[in-house]
Symmetry: C2
Subunit: 343 residues, 2 copies
Amino acid sequence: MKKRATQDDVARLAGVSRATVSYVINNLSGGNIRISEQTRQRVLDAIRELNYQPNALARSLATQRTNTLALVVPDIANPFFAGIARGVERVARSANYVVLLGNAEEDPKYESKLLEILEERRVDGVVSCSSRLPDRDLRGLLEGYPVAVLVNRLIAKSDNRTTIDSVVIDEVAGGRLATQHLLFFGCQIIGMINGPVRSFSARGREKGYRNALEAAGLPVREEIILHCQPTVESGQKAAEKLLTNHPEVTALFCYDDMVAIGTLKAAKQLARRVPGDLAIVGFDDSLLAGLVTPPLTTCRVPKERLGEFALQLLLDRINNPSDPPKELVIQPELIVRESAPAR
Amino acid sequence: MKKRATQDDVARLAGVSRATVSYVINNLSGGNIRISEQTRQRVLDAIRELNYQPNALARSLATQRTNTLALVVPDIANPFFAGIARGVERVARSANYVVLLGNAEEDPKYESKLLEILEERRVDGVVSCSSRLPDRDLRGLLEGYPVAVLVNRLIAKSDNRTTIDSVVIDEVAGGRLATQHLLFFGCQIIGMINGPVRSFSARGREKGYRNALEAAGLPVREEIILHCQPTVESGQKAAEKLLTNHPEVTALFCYDDMVAIGTLKAAKQLARRVPGDLAIVGFDDSLLAGLVTPPLTTCRVPKERLGEFALQLLLDRINNPSDPPKELVIQPELIVRESAPAR
DNA sequence: CTGTTAGCGCATTCAG
DNA sequence: CTGAATGCGCTAACAG
């Protein structure tokens, strides 16, 4: 491995000083500084000849900026977070930032370690997705960063130095939307297969569900609200149980598409036709939603936009550090397909 | 934003010299250097009190190591690459590396730019996934790195300084496996809905398909080999065409699971029962494969293991720079589900 | 065992 | 327009 060329080498070969090289690299930076086209070319030639590439580390050390942002997700192989990552990447790129990905592997302990490691790298900001860390710890970790934004999670405000912005989707509205759709097309007895009890989004969605029923003057029957893990298997089990114990149920609002797919399987198992005998609405609009049979009617969470907005907030905050904390709420959208009646 | 504490601050507060602080941070690094438990504690206390966090940039500049690896993928929202990323992350983590993710957004031009940006960050190595860049360019880009490994792509050897290792799956064996499975269960007229003509993997899979037919003494009928894009829609269109023009076809080997799902839809459209009237085998074993109806029989590509092996190769190369180039070939595995006869 | 010192590669005044 | 000097925060000899 040959040694890399430095600015010094370039300067020497071009017969100019280091500062000059630095200037042409940073493109006529200074106000009243102008480099003659001639020397400029000489420098450029030298750079090419030596195959010189600036050392971002040294530059960052000197400028105190890394042009790097950190993104921490629970699991990058989860399409939900992959979508967010994509959105984040996209706008980071257009703003000339690189993103350092932290994959927590669903392990809160590793997540906090990650947050520390990334901070040591002196990134210019961080976006953290739906952490399972308690408010207190998370806040402490985040405050090491110049700026931070949270996706899909809120955190109590505080008067500390680092303002934490957030972007979330309106879970309650989503739950309401889904339930109303079911109501509108005549379903009377609507149950819910909800996600983990303690989950922020599970609570929101359930609240929306309850709201919608109440607004329609319908009773909320606790016995037809079940909880499960957000997986196909767990959803299937829960749905089988619910449908067996309460065969009168004609519609189910499911926590997410995985659970909805499990419910689909359960329906098949129990020989209930979808949507004829049983209407199903999911949540997320994951890749799968449109591909299963029948295609799922579901509440779309715009994952990429979530990521894009998160980064937008981050950039805003970098430029206006003293703005009041922002909290962006994105509305989900109902995607009507075939697992629930539609006409 | 308060200014961060530096090693100097710690040293001053602990009443020792910078070097001492550096030593305790790097945990009794030097051979004959030992710090008394007492001063050690003083330093630790000072660190805590100042909430000191080492600056990784400065450290890297001094050590010439970043403990960072770069991973470049065409699209992180594609489950295939997300799986690889997960594998890479996992072993990187266990080896105490952080990974810098580069998402090329399916744009070769941006991909090369990414490779340059990441190199400026002086990462210790790079793993690049299935680039669409021509050999020549890719090699040039990769040679800026101390070490590099390619996933799912081979590159001609060269005598340059940077050795490029690679890990690929045995596409030919996969194609053979799938086709043999179909043959074994009595399918006679087996067509193929293949992917993009120029794709490395498409060629390999087709070769395996041809091999299997020939080995069974069956003719290869060019008119029942079609190409399409690796999407559900494109696959569906191709399958409809093929099945309409050649209704005698009783089995289809599909380029990947997306195409297979498209084929599933086409079969439904044309009222051909799967696997009764038409047997289908996919490739990848993506998330979806097991969830569609009927569940897909498919050739599993172990995505995470691809990533894990890639990183293993990278670490090996870092430790043994002068080993001969390695090329790891991973065997795919047939996952038997219900879209093809199995008994 | 602990303190001193010289870089690492670059940006940025400040005088020419 | 250009060159010299200083510092960013830390590591790694090298002396004590």
